[in-house]
């Protein structure tokens, strides 16, 4: 539907009326729909935390749930005795190394399932970023 506005914004094409333009309700509705669609598709950061349960392995994966499908997730522990544990996950990756402050690395199996991300490590709960009672923080681009 062509707008009666004589110009439009450069990105979303929202109506920009001049003083002598005819204003129609449909133009506002179309603009609002365009804004709504743009906001819905825009990437957002989500943050949170969890407290480790002290278990690991394929029967005990870590699971994080997001409001949208995650594309990139970074998980980091508070300081542990052996250093800070980190996990950097990019959508699609299925084997990802967690990194300790000591420089050691350990492979995690990762499953992406819609708004949920899970991973496990066969070596130990520390390597899985699930050490008992320790708090882990995450930030995700969704």
């Amino acid at each position: 539907m062509a707008t009666n506005a004589s110009s439009a914004t450069p990105n979303l094409g929202l109506s920009q009326w001049a003083a002598d333009d005819y204003i129609r309700r449909e133009d506002f509705n179309a603009d609002n729909a365009a804004i709504d669609a743009a906001l819905a598709s825009a990437a957002v950061f989500e943050t949170g935390s969890y407290v480790g349960a002290g278990v690991n392995g394929s029967a005990n994966p870590n699971t994080l749930t997001f409001t949208r499908e995650p594309k990139l997730v970074f998980v980091q522990s508070k300081t542990l005795g052996i250093g800070t544990e980190q996990l950097f996950l990019l959508k699609g990756a299925t084997r990802v190394s967690s990194t300790a402050g000591t420089g050691s690395m350990s492979s995690n199996t990762v499953v992406w399932n819609g708004n949920t991300l899970s991973w496990y490590n066969s070596h130990g709960s520390v390597e899985q970023l699930n050490d008992s009672g320790y708090t882990y923080f995450y930030v995700a681009l969704c």
């Binding site: 949170g48 969890y50 409001t67 008992s132 009672g133």
Partner: protein, 82 residues
């Protein structure tokens, strides 16, 4: 909001997640910790005993036995290191 996996692990700990936002749907097998229990959850996690109904935690207390068992493992580790 904080969500917690209803079923505990063998060590008595519960998986949990605190989200700076709101999920529109709680994952299956998990429950939302209501505001009045969030402080207790933060203090006791992950060693809790809980009851849940319709996706909401209705009671939450410290699982002292599970936490004591964990603390005993720490003491054993310290003895081994010494």
């Amino acid at each position: 909001m904080t969500i917690i996996r209803i079923e505990p692990y063998e060590n008595g700990a519960h998986a949990n997640q605190t989200i700076n936002g709101t999920l529109s749907a709680v994952p299956e097998g998990w429950a939302v910790v209501p505001p009045e229990l969030e402080a207790a959850a933060a203090s006791y996690m992950p060693w809790v005993r809980l009851a849940a109904a319709d996706g909401v935690v209705t009671s939450l207390t410290l699982n002292e036995a599970a936490r004591a068992a964990f603390e005993a493992t720490l003491e054993n580790e310290e003895e081994v290191e010494a």
